[in-house]
Amino acid sequence: MSAARTTTTPPPPTSSGGRLKKTGVYVLLSVGLLVMAAPFLWMGLSAFKTDRDLTASPPVWIPTEWTFEHFGELLDRLDVPLYFFNSLTVAVLVTLSNLVFCSMLGYALAKLRFGGRNRIFALVLGALMVPGNLMLLPLFVLMSKLQLIDSYAGLVLPFAAQAFGVFLMRQFMQSIPDELLEAARIDGAREWYIFWRIAMPLVKPALATLSILIFLGSWNNFVWPLIATNDPGKYTLPVALATFATDPNQSDGSNGMLMVGSLLIILPVLLVFLVLQRHFTQGLATTGMK
């Protein structure tokens, strides 16, 4: 403490001490990253291993012999294209409906002055805090009553308009200058035209962020699709894989097939994420900081 007091000038950032510190930071982060990545690497490599390599002790990281046999085996036993299609359809529908509905309400909350606005916003904030599991049971009863179990509608509707999407869109809509909208209003533009043709194009980055977050949430969603589908023909990819993995008659406990299945769920998402990662963190930071 007293030593620090005697130092009157700050250490320049490029001093040897700073460089040493920097190296230390790099080492720590690299170790951390390796731990984070290990399960992914293990999965990716195991998908290409022969059964002998999979059960080898001590385990082998790099396959001694690369094989695609588990891909074929899994595709024979599990209708992966069908489940892929189901997941994709549901995710696309959920994303589109959120893009429209969340933007509409987000725009209204940010840019339209109307009675009840504050109360609706309070409702949105409240909805953010309600745990999803609270609604599962009546939602299942409701969907049974509406005969929407085992249908895309049953999988899509409960997620068609999500509160966090409204929150995110409201944040971004607020950044649009009022003068711009006011000018359009004075020119006689209808509110829908202003929203669709002026506001929406201005928040394209936000729409990208929202699409990614919602699409991903839907793609990875597990609990509701598990409940809302009984017919294997309507399973989404995660439900199909989980069912497959826990049924020893089907999977024979074969690690290889399960690794392939996991890879097929994760890979598309991971690729999208790597390309568009800026939007993920941006969305999270935006909804998180306010």
Partner: protein, 328 residues
């Protein structure tokens, strides 16, 4: 009608724009504003309607229905005929607190939160600070790496982790055997199953917390740090006296959302251990799921859901109070 004008005033009280005509210099401008306000009022409601309808049917209604169901003996037959369920008052709730399984589930959930939340928030903060200090070039690379588990499917993650933890040919077993140790049966042991799930959850959620902390760190003005350094503060002092206090709002937020998430923990035990061995990883959400969808005791399960909900609300309010008071 009277409510309409009242609500318009309510909306106009919003600081975004001043009240109607309050500081308007001319009456003529007031006259022009008259129409847009009415139009905006209409438009506002029309723009809100789709969300509100979906919200009412698929969220508000189920939330309310859960509450009602929790006072009934709602069972399998009531799925097709909901209104024949019988009102039984508080019976479900009183039964809950004599149900050893439920009490165990409460304990397990508390365990998960008490150990998991500090680990997740703490490690997330450490990684964020490391990324923010001294790393410029590889920042994106590391951030993406640490965030990747967040975007991946729990099912795929569970499958992989089961093999990582497998006592005979898993990754950890292999590493252990190289140094002459034998790996414990992580998921098969009553003592180790829950800690294993916690490690997995920390691994999976670290990235979320990290990103929020990075955003918080970047909001700290650089001259504040500079001033501290000019005054001769060490790195540690700078962290303790500058970074931590200024990060309080972020810390509050990440703690609260992580706690809420962990109180709801369902997927990890469901796909990894199904609550076993001997209910050592049975959480409240999992117990609710079992009662509701395996045994179709939906009234009873609804009572569980509401107890959990009340616990979550109480803890969130408590955290907001405690942590917020510290900042001021």
């Amino acid at each position: 009608m009277s409510t309409t004008t009242e609500s318009v005033a309510d909306a106009d009280a919003d600081p975004v724009k001043s009240g109607p005509g309050a500081d308007s210099p001319s009456g003529g401008r007031d006259h022009r504003k008259q129409r847009p306000v009415a139009v905006q009022h209409m438009a506002g409601w029309l723009f809100s309607t789709p969300f509100l309808v979906l919200f009412a049917v698929f969220m508000a209604l189920p939330i309310l229905a859960t509450l009602l169901m929790s006072f009934t003996d709602f069972g399998l037959r009531n799925v097709t005929d909901p209104f024949s369920a019988e009102f039984i008052g508080l019976e479900n709730y009183t039964k809950l607190f004599e149900d050893e399984k439920f009490l165990k589930a409460l304990f397990n959930t508390a365990y998960f939160v008490v150990v998991g939340v500090p680990l997740t928030v703490g490690l997330g903060l450490v990684v964020a600070v490391l990324l923010n200090n001294g790393i410029d070039r590889a920042r994106t690379f590391f951030r993406v790496g640490f965030y990747a588990p967040v975007v991946t499917s729990i099912v795929a993650i569970a499958v992989v982790w089961r093999f990582v933890l497998d006592p005979s040919d898993g990754l950890i077993a292999g590493l252990a055997s190289e140094v002459g140790l034998t790996s414990p049966d992580f998921l098969g042991s009553e003592a180790l199953a829950m800690p294993s799930l916690i490690v997995m959850a920390v691994w999976r959620n670290l990235g979320t917390v990290m990103v929020l902390f990075i955003a918080g760190l970047q909001a700290i003005p650089p001259d504040v740090r500079e001033a501290a350094r000019l005054d001769g503060a060490s790195t540690w002092q700078e962290f303790r006296r500058i970074t931590v206090p200024l990060l309080r709002p972020t810390m509050l937020y990440t703690t609260v959302i992580t706690t809420i998430g962990y109180l709801n923990v369902f997927e990890e035990p469901f796909v990894m251990t199904q609550g076993g061995p001997s209910d050592s990883t049975l959480t409240v959400s999992l117990a609710m799921y079992r009662e509701g969808f395996n045994f179709f005791h939906m009234g009873y399960a609804s009572a569980m859901a509401y107890v959990l909900f009340v616990v979550i609300m109480a803890i969130t309010v408590l955290q907001l109070r405690l942590l917020k008071d510290n900042t001021k």
